[in-house]
Amino acid sequence: MAMLELKSINLNLGGKPILSNVNIDFWEGHVHAVVGPNGAGKSTLANVIMGLEGYRKVEGDIIFNGTSIKDMGIAERAKLGITLGWQEPARYEGLTVGKFIMASAKDKSVDTAKDVLEMVGLNPEDYLQRAVDKTLSGGERKKVELASILAMRPRLVLLDEPDSGIDVSSLEKIFDGIKLLRSFGSTVILITHSIAVMKQAEHAFLFCGGKLVTKGSADKIEGFFEGECLPCEHKNAPDEGDIYGN
């Protein structure tokens, strides 16, 4: 069953179309990937679904479990179980990792915070009292973001570039996190231009220039992405370094 339906989504920003006539169904309990080159509109799509400031003036409709959420604010959507892991997560002066995770958590206990930190490969002893500020490395911050999402037990989670800033040895931990989310029953949408991340998904949607170009099984789209998309001269096609440089 479709958990989230995007119906004829159009969005203009700064006077130009950023998303054009996007129609997608995301299936409950499945892992999806939204792929495409830099500037394709992937993060914009995630921001539209989460309802972030500046991404609310969309045409079309967003249906979550049969109800339109288009006019709802972020907190309201989050209370329905929708969340977003940022491409570049926010940093907070003085707020500890423990408090940040517990604020997000369904079960607000220190044990939950410890559990989810372990799930993403961070030792709770070392991290619970650290601040979620600039002293965390980019990769650590991404892991804390994923930990907070695991603690929330969302029904629908958008992960924008979950592998950015993550080294090869930690990548498996991130993938484990995605599997855990799935095992919790979460519907997952991965935003990525990495083949390795795409491989975690069952279905994939390929974007270019703000449009949905093609969709299908992740295997099929992977072939299309490598065969058609990479060699393409289109202005927002990335060079190979961007794609394999993870």
């Binding site: 989460m50 400031e53 989050a78 926010a90 604020a103 997000s104």
Partner: protein, 306 residues
């Protein structure tokens, strides 16, 4: 109200039973209790409206356990003047936690006037935490003039985040000689018609002297904050930084005036100031985890002031 209640509010009641921990408790103009450790001297003189205290740490003495001071006013109306003369001798080291507790204050004026000398290579850490009543009628005037000798270190934190501020007028002046280090941090949270004035001035007059002035202020309701940070460097290799962050909500207003002045080409001073509402990405992240906007703002501000 009993002084014991006051100590409980500050969570200080248990520590004062430890004979190895030096402490002094003052209620208005009376020294209620005092415990000293070897090498630490506190001479007091009770005045009509307060207490004069001379604190000396002998040369080379390292006081291991943090010293606890409590300045309380259990009355609703009063003026409390504390005159402090602090002398940390060469090579000595002390850390002080000071609670200023005015739990019933309706009209209370608390004046703290300190002269502090920190000798060569000595270290003084001073943390001052205020606990105020929910009335806005408190006036607090912390004033300090501090001299740091060669290689001396002074680290001070002023915190007023519990209860209403009322009127706060901080005035700190610090001079640092060769290779000294000064770190000043103030954290204040204002509401309703609170008025917060912070003036911190550091002069880095010695070679390789270093200084950091940090302020973290949140103003809500109709509260106002003025932060005036001055950092001057006149000696070679002196290094300084001024860092002021103020969050405003509702009708709060905040001003930041950082002045950095350098008169030696080998010295270097930087500053950053940010005033505004809560950062959108910080707010949206917490809201996307299911927090209401107010809860998210509270968490962000508490973090900043923690």
């Amino acid at each position: 109200m009993e002084i014991n209640e006051l100590l409980q509010i500050a969570n200080e009641d248990k520590i004062l039973n430890d004979k190895g921990t030096a402490h002094m408790t003052i209620n208005l103009n009376k020294v209620v209790s005092k415990n000293l450790v070897p090498g630490l001297h506190i001479d007091t003189e009770e005045m009509e409206d307060g207490v004069k205290a001379k604190i000396v740490v002998d040369e080379g003495v390292v006081i291991e356990k943090q010293v606890h001071l409590c300045f309380g006013v259990t009355h609703e109306q009063a003026v409390q003047r504390i005159l402090m003369d602090i002398d940390i001798k060469k090579g000595a080291s002390i850390s002080v936690l000071s609670h200023c507790v005015f739990p019933r204050a309706v009209h209370v004026k608390h004046i703290m006037d300190a002269k502090i000398r920190i000798g060569e290579g000595a270290a003084y850490t001073y943390e001052e935490k205020h606990i105020h009543s929910e009335h806005g009628g408190i006036e607090v005037y912390p004033k300090a003039v501090v001299d740091l000798d060669r290689g001396a270190r002074f680290k001070t934190t002023f915190e007023l985040v519990r209860g209403r501020v009322g009127l706060l007028d901080i005035d700190y002046d610090i001079t640092g000689y060769d290779e000294s280090v000064m770190e000043m941090m103030s954290k204040v949270s204002g509401r309703e018609d609170d008025l917060i004035k912070i003036r911190e001035a550091g002069s880095l007059v010695g070679e390789k002297a270093r200084g950091v002035l940090t302020s973290r202020v949140a103003v809500r309701g109709n509260a106002k904050a003025e932060v005036y940070n001055v950092l001057k460097a006149t000696a070679p290799y002196a290094r300084g930084h001024v860092d002021c962050k103020e969050i405003i909500q509702d009708n709060g207003t905040a001003t930041a005036i950082p002045i950095v002045e350098v008169s030696n080409p080998k010295a270097h001073v930087t500053h950053e100031a940010a005033i505004g509402s809560v950062d959108t990405k910080q707010l949206e992240t917490l809201m996307s985890r299911g927090l209401d906007e107010e809860e998210a703002v509270e968490l962000i501000i508490n973090g900043l002031l923690s």
